[in-house]
Symmetry: none
Subunit: 217 residues, 4 copies
DNA sequence: GATGAATGAGGCTTCATTCAT
DNA sequence: CATGAATGAAGCCTCATTCAT
C-alpha cells in the first residue's frame, strides 16, 4: 500500500495511536449526550468511533473512566480559552459581558460539548466524583469569570450593587438552560427556540437588570 | 403480620388500596430523581414504597409506564393550581409575576416534584413520548401562563415591548435551572446556593429588564 | 394441579427455596471438579442444577462465592462425622487407623466431594482466602485427627516413635493423592487403579512402617 | 535499542533466537503453575519472558500449544536422567530406592518443573490429550522405573512380595503429593512442611513397609 | 391483592489471536 | 524477527418482568 494514499484513508498506526483517545471521547460524547450515561452502550460508542468494542478498553479502563474523560477533556480547553479572552479585555463591562456570554455560547453552548452540562446535571448524583470535579474545575472557574465581570462592572459604576453570589448564577443560568434544552426537549420537537432572539433578549433584560440606575435614563 | 398491629402502623386496607398508586409514584419519584431513569431499579422503588417488587406490576405495566405516571401525576396538579391563580389576578403585572414565579417555586421547585424537570430534561431523548407529553402539557401550559403575564404587562404598558417568545424562556429559565441544580450538583456539595437571595436578585434583575423605560426614572 | 402430584414432580415453592442452595452447590461441585474453577461456566452449573443462570445469583453473590460455598459446605459435614468416629474408638491403634483412613475414603474420597481436594490444591494460589480456610478448617482438623491416632499408637507402644509432624502428612498423602488422581488422570484413561488393592497395600506398608520394632517378629 | 547496548544485557541475537522457545516455556511454566491454565494470561507470560505478546505466536501456535510444550519439555529431560541413573545401579535395592526417590525430588520436585504435576492433575480433564501424553510419557515411564526397583528388590529378596501395581503408586504418591502441596497450599501459608524430615520419615516408613520379613529383626 | 422466586435478554469486560508496521 | 494495536467471541452479572403460591 502506497504511503501517500494510505495517509489519507488510513492514518499511520502511530498517528492513530496518539489520536485515538480524542476520537473515542468525541464519539462517546455524542452518544452520552444523546442517550445519557446508563443508556449508552459501549458498543454504540465503538461503532460511532469506527472501532471495535475491545479497542475502547485499550484506552479507558471502564465505561465510567470513559465518561469522566469525556467530561474532563470536553470542557476544560474551551474554558481556558474563555478565561484568556476575559483577562485582556479593555472595553466597557457591558461589552465584556456580551463577549463572555457570547463566547461561552459560541465556543461551548452551540458546539457538541454543549451537551456536557446536561450530562453532568443528570448524572451528578450517580457520580459524586464527577460532580465534585465539575464543580471545582468548571463551575467554580466559570462563575469566577462571570463574577470578575460583574465586580468589574460594579467597581466601574457601570453595574448596580447587586448580590454578586446570586447574580453570577442568574447570569449563567439562562446560558446553561439553553444548552440543556437544546440537547433534550429541542431534539424531540419541531418548533425550536430561536437562539439569536433568545440571546438578544437575554442581553436586553440582563443588562437592564444590571445597569446602574442613572444609566436607565 | 396480625391486622391489629398493622392497623396501627398503616392506614386501613381500604384506604391503602386507593392510595397505592400515589404512594408508588411518590416513592418512584424519589428514586428516579436520585438515580435517573436507567439507574433506577424497580426493587429500590418497591423497597422505598414498602412493598414487594411484584406489587408494582399490579398498578403499572412496566418501568416506563411507572416513569410516565410519575411525570404526569407529579406536575399537573401544581400547574393547574398555578393557572387558576393567574386567571383571577387583579394587581400589577410586577406583582403577578412575583406571585406566579414565587408560587412556582413554592409549589413545585422547593417540593419533591421539583426533581421532575431534571428527570425530563435528562431522559427526553430516550422517551420522545414523555418529551412530547411534557412539552404539551407542562411546558406549553407553563409558558402560556408566563406569556399571559408578560403580554398583560406589555398591554398595560408596565413592561417593555420585549420579544415575548424569547422572554418567556428567559423568565422560567432561572427557575428551572434552580430546580435542576438543586437536585444534582447541590446534592453533592457542601456549599449550596441561597434560594432567598437567588430569587430576590432574580426579581430585581428580571423586573428591571422588563419594565417599560419610563418606569426606571 | 393436584398437590399430591405436584409434590412429587415439583416440590412446593417453599421447600425448594430452602433446598435450593444445597442443590446448587451440589451441581456446582460436579462442574467445578470436572472443569476446574476458571473453566467452569455458570451457565453449565445452572443447567446441571436445572435452573436458569439468574437463579444462581439469588443464592450466591458471585462465582467466587459459589465456589467458596462448595468447598465449605462440601467437606465440613464429612469431617465432623469422621471426628466423632475417632473420638469414641476403643480398639487397637492399628484398627483405629484402618477405621479412620477407611472412613475417610468411604465418606469423602469415593464420594462426589472427593473432588474437592483437587479443586483446592489447583486453585489455592488464586484464592488465598480459600486456601487459608481449607488449611484451617479441613487440613488442620484432618491432620489433628490423624495426629491423635499416631500419638495414641506411640503412647500405647503400638507404633514407633516416628516424627509425628511428617508422618501425619505421609499417612494422609496417599489418600489425598488417590482422590486427586481419581478426579483427573483416571477420568481420561482406560486402565484405572484398583482402589481395593491400593488401600490393602497402603495399610500393609503403612502399618509395617509404623509398628514398634518388637511387633515385627 | 542499539545492538551494542543490548549485547551487554542480553546474549547475542543468534543465541537468543535458539534459546527463545526454552525461555518462553520457562516463563510460561512459572505463570501456569502460579495461576493455573485458564487464569494465565498470555500477556503475563510475555511480560515474564520480557517479550511482547505477539512474539509468543512466533514460537507457539496457541495457548494450548504453549501449555503442552511446557508440560512436554519440562519433565522429560529430568525423567531421562533418572532412567539412566537406575539402569546402571549396583547397590542394594534400598539404596536404589533412596537414590531414585531422592533424585526425583532433587531434580524435579524441588525445582521449578516440580509445579507441573499440580498443573497436569488440575487440567487433565480439560486436556485429555495432555493427560494422555503425560500418562504415557511421564507416569508410565516413572512408574516403570519405580516398578523395576521394586521388582528388583523382590527378586533379590530384599523386599516383600508386595502387590507391585499398587505399591508403585504408593511409593510415588507421597513424592507427587509433596510437589503439589509445595505449589499450592504451601504458597499461601506461613508454616510449611519440612522437606528433610518428610523424606527421612518417608524412607523410614516406606522401607519398613517394603522390607522382607526377616530384615525387620 | 400481595409476594418473591425464577427467568433470560442484554451489557460490561476480558483476553486469545491476528496483522500492519 | 518483533511489536503492540485492534479485534470479537465469550462469560459474569444485573434487573425488568412473570407467575405460582
Amino acid at each position: 500500500m502506497p504511503n501517500s494514499l494510505a495517509a489519507k484513508v488510513a492514518p499511520s498506526r502511530r498517528r492513530r495511536k496518539e489520536a485515538r483517545p480524542a476520537e473515542l471521547t468525541a464519539a462517546a460524547l455524542d452518544v452520552f449526550v444523546e442517550k445519557g450515561y446508563a443508556a449508552t452502550r459501549l458498543e454504540d460508542v465503538a461503532a460511532q468511533a469506527g472501532v471495535s468494542k475491545g479497542t475502547l478498553y485499550l484506552y479507558f479502563d471502564s465505561k465510567e473512566a470513559l465518561f469522566k474523560a469525556v467530561v474532563r477533556e470536553g470542557i476544560l480547553p474551551a474554558l481556558t480559552e474563555g478565561e484568556t479572552l476575559v483577562a485582556g479585555f479593555k472595553g466597557s463591562s457591558e461589552d465584556l459581558l456580551r463577549e463572555v456570554i457570547g463566547g461561552m455560547w459560541r465556543l461551548i453552548g452551540s458546539q457538541r460539548i454543549g451537551g456536557i452540562p446536561k450530562l453532568v446535571f443528570a448524572e451528578a448524583r450517580n457520580f459524586p466524583e464527577i460532580a465534585s470535579f465539575y464543580h471545582q474545575e468548571v463551575i467554580m472557574r466559570g462563575t469566577a469569570m462571570i463574577r470578575s465581570v460583574i465586580e468589574r462592572g460594579i467597581k466601574r459604576k457601570e453595574f448596580r450593587k447587586v448580590n454578586v453570589d446570586a447574580t453570577v448564577y442568574l447570569v449563567i443560568g439562562p446560558v446553561l438552560m439553553r444548552m440543556i434544552w437544546r440537547h433534550s426537549l429541542d431534539c424531540c420537537l419541531a418548533a425550536n427556540v430561536d437562539d439569536k432572539a433568545y440571546f438578544d433578549e437575554y442581553f436586553a433584560i440582563m443588562l437592564r437588570g444590571l445597569w446602574a440606575e442613572r444609566k436607565a435614563s
